[in-house]
Symmetry: C2
Subunit: 446 residues, 2 copies
């Protein structure tokens, strides 16, 4: 299946290259909006704009809501406010709000103005919650029922409605004041006796406050295996619902973000313009350059030592590099533990201790191998002992730093995935060069 | 809510530390199985075993199916085959099979033998598919209906059943030979006229072949925003269904794996024993040590040059490090693009070209900064020119390597996230040291 899909997409891209636009247009009809979103993301700038022009107006809104933020911004630039209003009007409120949030303030207003009153109100209320909270994720189109009616009444009510919002697996049970009581699954309506009341068969699952951060929402969905949940205001009144498809996007997005942040990519679009990519990555490279200069400065303090014993220059990168690699392993464990909410006051101590032990163990093994090789290579036992000591020290400190840095950054409110790596490498470089060259200066020079 | 949950968990852990077991047991009753799974994952070995002893037998199966593979293996070691059979018997087949797959072959057999015949057959058939395919993810408990019956008949049938498997949002429509035709949502049963036929309201969504890899399943669910899908054998016959909660786990797991693989952690449990962690990470450290030795050997070729100009030893780590960092950024872009299936034959070329341009741009900026600093620091214009050239060359090659290495590894069937980083760093170190020291030997020495 995947094989077939790939070739479908490849054929479409070939037709696009051949500028056979009629055929591209007719092929696009068989693609799901999110497949088109994937295609757009995988195309360089010019072809992307071209393909976007060929997408059917009817599904432009769905495609926009599926595409990555960075890519979406580019597509929106090609559109008039009136067009944006047009293509977003049939979307779920959360998806529409999500798209509008990427526009400049002035454009948002003109988009809202070209909508009819009802749509404007829906979207404006969704825009009042930050994008990465339960309120920003929720859809306000819900079917709610009262606890005291019978399942039979519910069934007749649904038949009258004629349709329910997409991804409805449950109805939301509220009291007279629209206060949330629980969920009634559609299966519950079907399998139970028609004369039973809604209250008898609803599940009293907790609702989600509108200001819960998106990551918290994702954790609740994952832990409880939910398909949907009610979103509530401060008085437990029903505001809307979140469905699992939106949560899947949050989970995917967060995981991506960790990977991108650890490499200092920031938000990225694989085919952002060369200038945009250069600029986004430059900050990280600039910081890294500063730490590289710091390491060079440390080495510079030992110029005279190196002059007398060039073997030190040859071996010193090994000490620094191995510290960096071992420290990064610990760092990754701690960053993921924090992201998954698995590190608390209680287990931070044991975690640091464990990582310290692992660092010492691996440090001892690596240091011994390097010491033996160094002794044989340069026929200098003193050099072997010095590098052995320096590596043990650096790998132990690397393990300690790898565990402590993310915890400290988290406390300071800084994303450990962004800053952790640079701080760690700075430490392992400085400590590595300083202990190795320092010990050599003390003990090896005549 | 999240705040409250955290403190609930913290209180429970405190009680556990105080060995107040009765209270721990009664507190556990208010925890969802997957919250208990999270707690177990966050505990070091001894406390983890202790807490596991206190978990109610009734929910042990659910907890086991929610816990990470590496942690689960440890918990299973504490249990007898008979106990395992007991706690898995009420689970979905996919979850039960998942747990059994972690046991040694001989233990699996004895667990299967202590089950009743019906369960044994269900589980054995689930075990016949690899864990990471659609067949391994599917649950064989499904409600299927025929296309030619009326919705009214379906409703009566469901009421007779009295319950449907968890997470049922749709019924699966099959023909007389159990061949898959489409899905009928429960909402569809409720909102349409009772006399309409199933066939009129089913959606003809494609089913998923049982041998589809888990990542392919995840992509289909994400792209189509599915809640559930039918799994089919080679003849389009219905085998079971996959629900979105299992897919969420796959997505989460895959993203985790990339992060862990890029750091060379392999499968890891935050509180694996010190020895296990040491062993798991040693392989990666060993390979990294080899590449560090290779870099040292390259530097060693230029011993005489460094002796004459120690400034080279001071500056050379900058050339190598900046190449490594810039290359890692490109590498991450390419690895994620491949993981998301967004890199194909058509766009690999443009991607490499774009990354090359970004590398050249950033290389030019960084090289100029470093060249100016080096010239001023050592009052040596020649040195400035040499390091400028070496950095441009290394960053360009780093960008090229960062884009090409993952594509090549993918072609060879090797996970780019595992091997990509080491190969890249080896290249940027070797090229960095070689060009910088080589150019210096050619042009700077008297």
């Amino acid at each position: 299946m995947t094989m077939n899909e790939l070739s479908r997409q490849e054929i479409l891209l070939q037709r696009l290259e051949e500028e056979n636009f009629d055929q591209v247009r007719s092929m696009l009809a068989s693609f799901h909006p999110s497949e088109i979103a994937d295609l757009l993301e995988s195309l360089p700038g010019k072809s992307r704009r071209l393909l976007w022009e060929l997408v059917d107006r009817e599904i432009e809104g769905d495609v926009l809501s599926d595409v990555q933020d960075a890519v979406r911004a580019g597509l929106l630039e090609q559109m008039q406010p009136r067009e944006v209003a047009e293509v977003t009007k049939d979307l779920d409120t959360d998806d529409a709000a999500d798209i509008l949030q990427d526009l400049p303030e002035a454009v948002i207003d003109s988009v809202l103005l070209s909508m009819d009153a009802q749509n404007r109100e829906r979207i404006a209320s969704a825009l009042s919650y930050p994008e990465d909270t339960a309120g920003g994720l929720m859809d306000i189109d819900v079917v709610s029922v009262r606890a005291d009616v019978s399942l039979d009444v519910v069934a007749r009510y649904l038949r009258q409605l004629g349709q329910v919002p997409e991804h409805t697996d449950s109805l939301i049970v509220v009291d007279r004041e629209n206060r949330y009581l629980g969920l009634l699954s559609l299966a519950g309506v079907l399998v139970n006796k028609p004369e039973d009341s809604v209250g008898e068969h609803m599940s009293k699952r907790a609702g989600i406050p509108a200001d819960t951060p998106a990551t918290g929402v994702a954790r609740i969905f994952e832990q409880r295996d939910l398909l949907s949940a009610a979103v509530l205001d401060g008085d437990d009144k029903l505001l809307g619902r979140i469905t699992v498809d939106d949560v899947v996007d949050v989970i995917q997005e967060k995981a991506e973000q960790t990977v991108r942040n650890m490499a200092g990519l920031g938000e990225d679009d694989m085919f952002a313009s060369v200038l945009t990519s250069t600029r986004r990555r430059a900050a990280w490279l600039g910081v890294s350059l500063l730490t590289a200069f710091l390491a060079a400065w440390v080495i510079g303090r030992f110029e005279a030592t190196i002059q007398q014993l060039v073997a030190l220059a040859i071996l010193m990168p090994i000490v620094a590099a191995m510290g960096g690699i071992a420290g990064s392993q610990t760092l990754t464990v701690a960053i993921r533990g924090l992201a998954l909410g698995q590190i608390s006051r209680q287990n931070a101590g044991p975690l640091i201790l464990k990582e310290l032990r692992v660092g010492l163990f691996n440090g001892a093994i690596l240091a011994t191998v390097v010491a033996v090789v160094a002794t044989l290579w340069f026929d200098d036992q003193g050099l072997g002992i010095i590098i052995w000591l320096a590596m043990i020290i650096n790998l132990t400190i690397a393990a300690l730093a790898g565990a402590v840095i993310p915890l400290a950054l988290k406390k300071l409110g800084v994303d450990p995935a962004i800053a952790g790596g640079v701080i760690l490498i700075t430490m392992t470089d400085v400590v590595g060069f300083m202990t190795f060259l320092g010990l050599a200066t003390l003990f090896l020079l005549p």
